[in-house]
Symmetry: C2
Subunit: 218 residues, 2 copies
DNA sequence: TGACTGTATATACGATTGTATAGTAATATA
DNA sequence: TATATTACTATACAATCGTATATACAGTCA
């Protein structure tokens, strides 16, 4: 019976009495919050231990299993939170952009502003994309694909409005997304001044891709 | 006396009798090799424990301190090995490239061929750039800068030979490097067939940057 | 041949980890 | 009200960790 504790967490409540029993005193969100304060701005999620999270959340170690099967599952939940949060922010910023403004410039600006604001979620997406379990990495990859898709739609619409054409929308959006995330990750280790320079350089890079894809599209 | 064991590792041998004492039975290289087999193709260097490495290397845990102050120092050594190895390979490939061939295409090809060959070092550079201690991350960053510099030189020379001009050589080389590493990291989780598709897409991306920087350079 | 010196090992300690086991507190339903 | 069900805690255990301490071994040099 190695799976006892884990199995309990996924048991489907018997339909006959699914409102029975003691009420939860804590929910996933609170555990996620505890995990967030633990990882802080620099620490890796992969270094979180079950006991540590439980301690921070103020529950007994075993109670953790009521809410997550493993620490990995918590990590995936963290990543999903992070992705949702960032997409909301970037999406809102895109809508604010007037027709005359540069989508590229303002998106990068918002991205780095979020960095400066020491967003709880952002660094998780940035740092942890390449390590940890397979599930873990796929969760991050999944979030990045969301960004790519949204950017692609924006890109195609914007360019066709101006009568141009993008060479390979998928590759273009992906290149831009990955580049921004790569640069954003470097920014985590930088001072505010260095970040500004980095932002400028990133915009230059994105412009190269934009000019290139437009030239190749015609 | 918390630093006793660590201090011993850096003691400068007294000049009066520096040939005295028992000869080392193991050297850093062997420990690095042990660490490499432990991390395998997927595991993170950050998860290595001192005891584990010592076990694999066939030495007592404390003997580790004779060669490295901390596991972090071992990790940095691993990264330096990895960078040196990859640069040698890519450099050799570049020299083989005839004047008519595409530097971009063949570089990416070599890069991904190295992936397929399950190179011991490559995945370390790819996966671990964003986690671990500050020292650790800086070591990876340092290696990437080497790549950028070499690429920049190649780029400027190649383009000026054809009478063109690159817009911003630094940004161009950096964008290309970071993009290749980002894509290479994704490739680690892929099958051979998926990797081929990814390689094509990556070449497309790099071409966009190339076309863009050339257009902006004139 | 000692004495000295650097290398490696054996042993041990306290801390922390994940989790198995058993028991208590709280609630809806019969 | 009695019972079933759920949420949670307390305790315990074996494993692993980094490393302090002490000791044995293998060389060089006097």
């Amino acid at each position: 019976m190695q799976e006892t504790a884990r199995a309990r967490a996924t048991e489907v409540p018997a339909q006959t009495a699914r409102n029975a029993g003691r009420r939860p005193e804590i929910d996933r969100e609170q555990i996620i919050q505890a995990a967030l304060t633990l990882v802080g701005p620099n620490r890796s999620v992969a270094t979180l231990s079950l006991r540590e999270v439980a301690r921070e959340a103020g529950i007994a170690p075993n109670s953790f299993y009521r809410h997550f099967r493993t620490v990995d599952e918590l990590a995936v939940a963290l990543i999903e939170c992070a992705g949702r949060s960032l997409r909301t922010i970037i999406g809102a910023a895109r809508q604010r952009v007037g027709r005359g403004q540069s989508v590229i410039g303002s998106s990068v600006e918002v991205f780095l502003a979020q960095l400066d604001a020491e967003d709880q979620f952002l660094h998780i997406l940035l740092r942890e994309g390449n390590v940890g379990s397979r599930e873990f990495r796929q969760a991050v990859e999944h979030q990045l694909c969301f960004f790519e898709d949204e950017l692609k739609v924006d890109l195609v619409r914007l360019v066709s409005l101006n009568g141009g054409a993008v060479h390979n929308p998928d590759a273009t959006a992906r290149a831009m997304t990955r580049l921004v995330f790569a640069m954003g990750t470097r920014a985590l280790d930088m001072t505010a001044a260095e970040r500004r320079a980095l932002a400028e350089e990133t915009v230059t890079m994105l412009r190269m891709i934009m000019v290139g894809t437009l030239a190749m599209g015609s």
